[in-house]
Symmetry: C2
Subunit: 438 residues, 2 copies
């Protein structure tokens, strides 16, 4: 099976765990059988591999997620990089061209597209396989997955099938309705449109050439920024006559808000948390290294991260976005291609951060115009390179770097250091990168 | 007026703002007219000075509070140091001997004793003056303040006066009753016993000599650890026949729980906090430098400090103690005589802290057996002394200290530094102090 996972925008609706640079699909919140925690993207990736060990997974995403994807799924993960955000039709066209031109997937093979973050069980991935098989048959140009509704949701578009067979022609599509209308749709046998579908590669490749002027993958990639922002539903699905829907009856949850996310948690808390016996339906997700104590609360989610603390009634957590938009704050934690950093202390003329480098990784070789830096290695071993001078370092070693000096650190083992930045104008934008050969 | 303020134990009922080393009276939570925040002890001290600019205030407390008292009230504050905790009778006897032998207060002068942490207005301090004046008259050996009850509380002992006059003989005392009994006491004209009273100095000094074998203040101080733990109420008040009570009708609140403390807050939040429009009776006290966002909560207190995060129904916050007792955690923030420190990062073999030294202050001259340390000065100027070698330091300077090496830093201006401790056995107990002359 060829599958394209769409890994979407950052989103603030799961603040303080998601923010401008950290997307919800990377939050490690699901307990695995061995007691560790995995993220949505790790869970989906693991489930896919389990159901089809031969699966060819490609993740369509933007540059900001590359580091997190590599950290969470390994360096080997196949990524169709979107140079900028251009909605789902350009993204799917680009990923399809990537499969064809870079991976050499045949025009006759089927491709399954689905979001990277549904909360589902194995039967869902079995259904994805059947969706691809159905597309292989060539009875229609597109085969959608229609999810059997469990309630008259106002959050989804609806697909009205021509029959109640497991595979059927699509009669019509309906936009997100109100609850009353949704009820009447459901009584007519309507299904949720979860944005999951399959097609033969050539179908979307031809559509892409029809709608976009390009020669091949590289050409499409280079002109990506000029493409119109348009959704795949609008550009393709709603205009297509040869279209089937395949029913899916299993668990399918969209974990887009704290309310739905906490429903999917195996345990009431992740991280250091204490609740008294008068807490009812309370969930705590605590990423800090100090305890959260909850007493006498009901239907509340508490989430604490280096970015901030949310305490919300679960229902109301859906309305978080405008409040988070008002928070204009320094990013306090970030995963990078080489590891992660966390801000420990902010003063007018200094910034102290903790840097963790993964084994074998290094920062860019870089310098700063307006600040000096001090590194204190606190664990692990590695090499620093400062203005071309190499030095082996281990816990306790101190490296001082004046403004303008080029520097990097290469981790042999996992390496942790405290970095103190000193200067009057400390900014993430004050960074000049160099190649190490220069 | 001579006044002894009893500054009691640490208490965990206001966790995470109070803990083993930080008492509730030092939490800066009350907004002053100029927009700054002051603690209970600062508020009471300021109010006392305002009502009686000549007041002679002595604070009876233990060693753990000396630094916080000096930081919050200045170096000039007069302190009767209890070498260890021995309940209120020994503490009041010691403070009385201190007034007599050290401060030279005459045996005929009156002394007023009250707790350091009532939440009161100016009329209370006016009443304290009248209490002292009444003791001066010598009509009785002890004059208690009887607070007119506002509800049948089960938290206080009751005083039954012989009459409803503003000053009256005491008929009898009653232990903390249940609410029903409290109602019947109140219908008989009973008053709350808030532990506030006045006496002529010689009365308590004589009582002390009666019950304790000692010569003078120094002698009492040196044998303090051998004294019986006994309350002033039990040792003196309940056995005294010559006793009056003076009514007080003004505001008098005991801010011992989050529930009562938040009632006294001028504004709904202290620190970075956002509430949506569906929050009702919510208070946020946030000492962290990241925001707290509260949505759709009712009757809830949220308190976040470097020690942890509390989210509690206000009623239930009274039952916090057993839960906090279960939290066995490194102290993350502390005020010291020389300034303060905050833990920034904890690893197996390193600990990173931020140290703030007040101008003119220094740490003890000390060494550690089992850890190396690195200081990075981030602001201010001062002098380090390392194995006797002095060096002037400013922002950006780095000082490395091997285990065994003696070191200190003296602040000229306010001086802040990042200290990285490195070693396999990092412990607060690994500290040897030296005099700087050695």
């Amino acid at each position: 099976m060829n599958i394209v996972l769409l890994s979407g925008g950052s989103g603030k609706r799961l603040w303080p765990l998601s923010n401008d640079i950290r997307s919800k699909q990377f939050i490690k919140i699901f307990k695995t059988e061995d007691g560790a925690y995995e993220s949505m993207v790790q869970r989906v990736y693991r489930q896919l591999k389990k159901v089809d060990s031969e699966v060819n997974i490609t993740i369509a995403t933007s540059r900001t997620q590359i580091s997190a994807l590599h950290n969470q799924l390994g360096e080997g993960v196949s990524i169709s990089l979107e140079p900028c955000r251009r909605d789902t039709f350009p993204a799917i066209a680009l990923a399809t061209a990537y499969l064809h031109d870079i991976q050499g997937v045949s025009e006759e093979e089927s491709v399954v597209v689905c979001p990277v973050d549904p909360y589902v069980e194995e039967d869902y991935f079995e259904a994805l396989k059947r969706l691809g098989d159905q597309a292989d048959k060539g009875e229609a140009n597109l085969v959608l997955m229609g999810i059997e509704p469990t309630y008259p949701s106002e959050k989804y578009g609806y697909i009205i099938p021509q029959s109640k067979d497991s595979v059927s022609r699509v009669s019509t599509f309906k936009e997100k309705p109100d609850a009353e209308t949704a009820k009447s749709y459901i009584s007519q046998g309507a299904l949720w449109n979860g944005g999951v579908f399959a097609y033969k590669l050539k179908y979307v490749l031809n559509k892409a050439h029809e709608l976009i002027d390009f020669t091949d993958y590289q050409d499409l990639f280079s002109r990506y920024g000029t493409l119109e922002k348009i959704s795949f539903d609008y550009a393709v699905v709603e205009k297509e006559k040869e279209i089937q829907v395949m029913r899916f009856k299993g668990q399918w949850k969209d974990l887009g808000t704290w309310n739905t996310l906490t429903e999917a948690m195996e345990e009431a808390s992740v991280g250091e948390a204490i609740m008294n016996e008068n807490c009812r339906n309370v969930h705590i997700i605590n990423e800090l290294n100090v305890p959260v104590l909850a007493m006498g609360l009901e239907d509340v989610v508490i989430s604490a991260s280096p970015e901030g603390i949310l305490v919300s009634d679960k229902e109301q957590s859906s309305y978080i976005k405008p409040f988070v938009d008002r928070i204009d704050q320094q990013i306090m934690f970030a995963e990078k291609s080489w590891g992660s950093f966390r801000v420990l202390d902010i003063e007018d003329e200094s910034l102290t951060i903790k840097v963790t480098l993964n084994p074998g990784h290094r920062m860019n070789y870089h310098s700063h115009r307006n600040r000096n830096e001090v590194w204190v290695v606190i664990s692990g071993t590695g090499r620093t390179i400062v203005d071309g001078m190499e030095q082996e370092v281990c816990a306790g070693d101190v490296i001082t770097m004046q403004a303008g000096c080029r520097h990097t650190v290469v981790a042999c083992t996992e390496l942790k250091l405290i970095e103190v930045q000193l200067g009057k104008e400390i900014s993430v934008h004050d960074k000049q990168k160099f190649s190490l050969e220069a």
